[in-house]
Symmetry: C2
Subunit: 325 residues, 2 copies
């Protein structure tokens, strides 16, 4: 029910995901809306009469709208009726539903949003967390984000010894705000590493996010969300100006057409529909947060990631990493 392009693109994506990946999918929402959408009547449905709007207050909505699709989806995971939930709807309400219905993994202070940032020219993305779940953090939260990010890097991308960096404004450990300085001290002890295989590479800077300096970049949810959206806005502005230049003259248009095959891999890499979405780490179940403008392709990729996370037992690995820390 959620997302700017629901229900059409969401259900079209579900159809493709089932056909292409062989993953069993259950749709959560208003049966009459789902059944009236092409492909909708071919799925099992968990009924939910309410829809939390994209711009609704997250906490209030989740508390009051107990029969909303987001709350019912999180309950389905809690009750073992689904192995994972995926939403392109209200991000805050998705987080709140997952947190309140699935609960936290034992020992986790705060769940965090882990967002893979594509790195042009590299196979592996940089995982940024927290990308926006917690505007206020303590050093202890950030240490857990480091643990969870490292587990995610291994489970999702096969990185055996994930390089973990702490986002700051200079490489020296004396640089940064009090949160970063205190977190640096804790991370430098290495006591948090446990079985994650992580390697602490020290402070990293904003310019290192879109590079291979670190596999995991740890920060508070305020800074992480600003960095993520700054990058998205910058990419969009630059790509928009490039396309305008490509269209500026008939000669440019012809030349751009010739260049397209060389540019398409880069364009595909940066397309948010291809990242598979972000994952809420620390809740007791798999919860994939897809961006609001998700197309069918985005849904297919989100299902692929959700499936990998379930098969890879990422929640079990997180549980082990947190309790042994």
């Amino acid at each position: 029910m959620g997302g700017d392009r629901a229900p059409d693109e969401i259900i079209a994506g579900a159809v493709r995901a089932r056909d292409e990946l062989g993953v069993e999918i259950v749709l959560v929402g208003q049966p009459e809306v789902i059944r009236a959408t092409p492909g909708g009547d071919t799925f099992a449905i968990i009924e939910a009469s309410e829809v939390i709007a994209m711009d609704a207050d997250a906490g209030k909505s989740v508390r009051r709208m107990k029969d909303s699709s987001l709350v019912r989806a999180a309950e389905a995971v809690r009750d073992g009726k689904a192995s994972a939930m995926i939403s392109a709807g209200n991000t805050g309400a998705t987080m709140a539903s997952a947190l309140l219905r699935m609960g936290r993994i034992k020992g986790v202070a705060r769940p965090a949003i882990a967002t893979p940032i594509p790195v042009p020219g590299q196979d592996l993305p940089t995982i940024l967390l927290d990308a926006g779940a917690n505007a206020e953090c303590t050093p202890e939260y950030l240490v857990q984000f480091a643990q969870m990010g490292a587990v995610f890097a291994r489970a999702r991308f096969g990185v055996e010894a994930p390089k973990v960096g702490l986002l700051s404004i200079g490489e020296e450990e004396t640089k940064g705000n009090p949160l970063v300085k205190e977190t640096h001290k804790l991370l430098a002890t290495g006591e948090w590493i446990g079985g994650t295989g992580a390697v602490f590479v020290g402070n990293v800077e904003g310019r290192d996010i879109m590079s291979d300096v670190a596999d995991v970049v740890v920060t508070d949810g305020f800074t992480g969300n600003v960095a993520l959206k700054t990058l998205e806005g910058g990419m969009k502005a630059l790509v928009g100006s490039l396309f305008a230049a490509f269209e500026s003259t008939p000669e440019a248009k012809d030349a751009a057409a010739t260049l397209m095959p060389a540019l398409l891999p880069l364009y595909a890499q940066l397309d948010p529909d291809n990242t598979g979405g972000a994952m809420l780490l620390g809740v007791d179940g798999v919860c994939i947060i897809s961006h609001g403008s998700s197309s069918a392709t985005a849904v297919v990729n989100a299902v692929r990631v959700a499936h990998e996370m379930v098969v890879g037992a990422v929640v079990e690995h997180l549980r082990a990493a947190i309790t042994t820390a």
Copy 2:
């Protein structure tokens, strides 16, 4: 003496600035080094025997190296021997020298670095401040940054009614960390606007920096520095991958050559050498901070900006804005 390409490019830039702009320039540093560099013997020199290294601790260096070029340059402005200082050297030491020798404008709690961010397809950049001078801020500092940014937008870019946004993680005033929420309340009163002509447009997000949503984006120096460097890193990664694609085949190479005239304006707009550098706002004199890798062209543009700031009496306007706040 400072900057990765000093003294050659710095002095070459000084020669060009003098010839192209007709601005009188005095070089500060070791006379024997300056005179041994092409063009160096054609300038008046303020002698300084010491050089603060690019990676030196800013505070310590400025306190101990009283005969360094940075300290002497700031003294020259204080003593009226120069109207402005420009440095491509150690940013922290440049700030510390300016702060300790020129002092603050009366009423200014903390000087801030104002960095113009080019917006592709737009004539006007977005001014981001604080871009890194103060890792820790109070709401009161941020209100002054709003005042100073608005004055700068008018003096430097002729924006009569600068749109000022507060960097947060959602448009709603309830979004953000405690610093942002408290600052939002203060900015929303409008009491700070005085004669700046500013218009408070509310919270803005990272994606709005490279857009025309706001002329001035206010944030603390930690978040601002992360945003600035994230954007720089993202642009560099994307442009690098574009050039790699342009070189990937003979056909692509030919097509890219045809496209170049259409792409050059964008490339020029994003070239940091063309922004004219950042300005340290709030000290009692004009202090331009050029990036470390500044070429002669960057120096020419920094001199142009310094000259405009002096002629436009930006320090006097700042003084008026702060004391009437």
